[in-house]
Amino acid sequence: MEPTSHSFPANARAGLADPILQTALGLARTGFPMRRAQAIARLPEFEALREQGRAIKDHTLANLDFYLERYEQNVTGAGGHVHWARDAVEARAAILDICRAAGAKTVTKGKSMVAEEIALNDHLEANGITPVETDLGEYIIQLRHEPPSHIIAPAIHLMKEQVADAFRAAHTELDPARPLIDPRALCDEARTVLRPRFLAADVGITGANFLVAETGSSIIVTNEGNGDLTQILPRIHIVITGIEKIVPTLEDAATLLRLLARSATGQEFSSYTTLSTGPRRPGDLDGPAEYHVVLLDNGRSALLGGEFQDMLRCLRCAACLNHCPVYAAVGGHAYGWVYPGPMGAVLTPALVGIGEAGHLPNASTFCGRCESVCPVKIPLPRMMRHWREREFAQRLSPPVYRSGLHLWAWVAQRPALYHALTGIMSRVLGWAGLYRGRFRSLPLAAGWTAVRDMPAPQGRSFQSLWAEQQRRRGAPRR
């Protein structure tokens, strides 16, 4: 999809003014964090597991070439095929070639963020192959022709009424007078409509949560079972995933699996964790006859060894989205591309460029919740700051903002001047705001006062109170 991250401010304003989105986000704001907290409270080892999860990922990234080669060797040994793709174009071409060779007409898909990243559905459709999303959330947004707004709950921006509308518009073969009043009925309808699609598909495409170098297995974690029907029924199973999903052993995967579901949905374990190794074996009564893995780089290898390497530890659990006050206010579509929230604010500039996505690392209060809940301790705020620095260094931020920062920096480096100026300002503002105690509008601060009052300064500044207290205690004044 074409990124619209450059219009984040307008996207965010639209999101804030959307009553359906605000109701839907209200459900998410409380639900996900509460369930995560409960799950973690039950596992005393959680903090130690986070530390080990981080170490496993760091070790793997430091030896990524070795583990990828070993993984490839083991996939091939089990009868599968590995396709390397430098970018989205190559990944799409590899998948289309496999589908064409199979004479495929329809393809079922399990939820895959990498497939979104390479805009796979549009490419298949343009080439006469019908992709059918089978995850309930993904299916809903496919019917509505919109991108996911959350990396594990793609339709989180909708309420059941919008889902019912989408189903009525799409499932014209069903009785138009049928009641579609609750999530149960909607879920049953999707199950009924999609079951024949599963059975008829020529190719099934899934993502991967982990790739295991030791065994050449890909692992998917789902709750619906759609990913499993997608991969066991068609003749061909294609896995599309990023090169950073590798872990060395099954034991390493177990540690990360213990972190993943608890951080994502607050479950002890997701309903289905599935290891797939090669195609069906002689004597097997079902399973795909061909197994392909498309390994996508798309800018990932360039992040190694630099200030953004830590981002490659990401498990895509969405805990950072679920705990982000900015995401909770504006929703995922405001971020304008595939990956929203704090992880998107770091990853999107790396994948589509800081020129397009410069707003995203700025859309943060640096409250630090994202880092504190990340199962592999990715320092998201620090990396957003790195992007802000790059944006500044590349002169991409607006001139007024840049000259403002320059002016502030010039003053801040001269403490005497700084204290004098802030002292005058707080006295003037304190005097002017004496009557109401707050300002409804202030020159140069419309961005603040348009939506809330600015409190008037009261009494003396912190700096002067601090200095006085230190003097009284007899400490040397600095």
């Binding site: 130690a48 990524l64 390397w84 297995s217 034991e251 374990f269 002689p282 009564l285």
Partner: protein
């Protein structure tokens, strides 16, 4: 330059090094071969076998798996019949062709109609064995093979799993060890039990068995599919309200046979 060389080269450039030296490669190979366990939570690991079985049941029931404990194999047919009647389901099921189900005295319940084979679209109830059950999270581990087709775990609305108490292990790592032991011995798979009623699915599987496998079943490879199943299928994609039976089974029922405890 191929994409493969380019990506591997790009990784090495970013890491500011060339291909790993031989001693480093040997150390990493040894790490893979050793596959050492990381921290395993005490929740299940600290319990004795009876405690693990109880923990498995408690954790499974927490995620809407139902569990019936029976004393021996002789009680399985009655429990299956009772469950189907209680759920208002027809006394008809498709069972895994696996030999482990052969000794069950199904003839004690002649009204139970049983077909052996893979699942087809019209099958409402399936019955399968499992490889292990993980006490830590109430998780069943099922491995695919000629006797255990994966469609049985996902296509029918109701999935019944036979579990022996001796199969309950503490953590996922114990399950991995079982998989590795099986893979290393790689027993030549017994042919599926022929059954006149087993329908087109089985026929298709058998046709391909002697056909043209594109690869040999290599010793050491895991089964094609390993399913870790924790409760019935579910979704929270609409308003985050959990619904069971999204695409996989709506019901997951475990018949737990109390056999001799597992010797560690």
């Amino acid at each position: 330059m191929t994409a493969r060389d380019d990506i591997l080269g790009g990784i090495r450039r970013s890491l500011r090094r060339g291909p790993l030296p031989a001693d480093k490669t040997a150390a990493l190979t040894a790490r893979l071969a050793a596959h050492r366990r990381n921290l395993v939570p005490a929740r299940a690991a600290a319990l004795d076998h009876g405690g693990r079985v109880d923990l498995f049941v408690a954790m499974a029931e927490e995620v809407q798996t139902t569990v019936a404990r029976v004393a021996s194999d002789r009680d399985i047919p009655a429990e299956v019949a009772r469950y189907l009647a209680a759920e208002n389901l027809p006394a008809e099921l498709v069972a895994a062709p696996d030999a482990s189900l052969d000794a069950i005295p199904w003839n004690t319940r002649p009204l139970l109609q049983i077909r052996r084979g893979r699942a087809e679209a019209h099958d409402a109830v399936s019955l399968t064995p499992c490889l292990a059950a993980v006490a830590e999270t109430g998780t069943l581990m099922l491995a695919s093979g000629p006797g255990t087709p994966t469609t049985l775990n996902f296509l029918p609305d109701t999935h019944i799993v036979l579990l022996r108490a001796s199969q309950v292990v503490a953590g996922y790592e114990d399950g991995w060890d079982l998989l590795r032991t099986r893979a290393a011995s790689n027993p030549s798979p017994a042919p599926p039990i022929p059954s006149p009623a087993s329908g087109r699915g089985l026929g298709r599987g058998q046709a391909e068995e002697g056909g043209s496998p594109q690869h040999a079943d290599r010793t050491g490879a895991l089964p094609r599919t390993v399913n870790l199943i924790t409760g019935p299928s579910r979704t929270g994609d609409i308003e985050q309200r959990i619904q069971l039976g999204a695409h996989g089974p709506r019901r997951l029922h475990v018949v737990l046979v109390e056999d001799a405890p597992h010797q560690d």
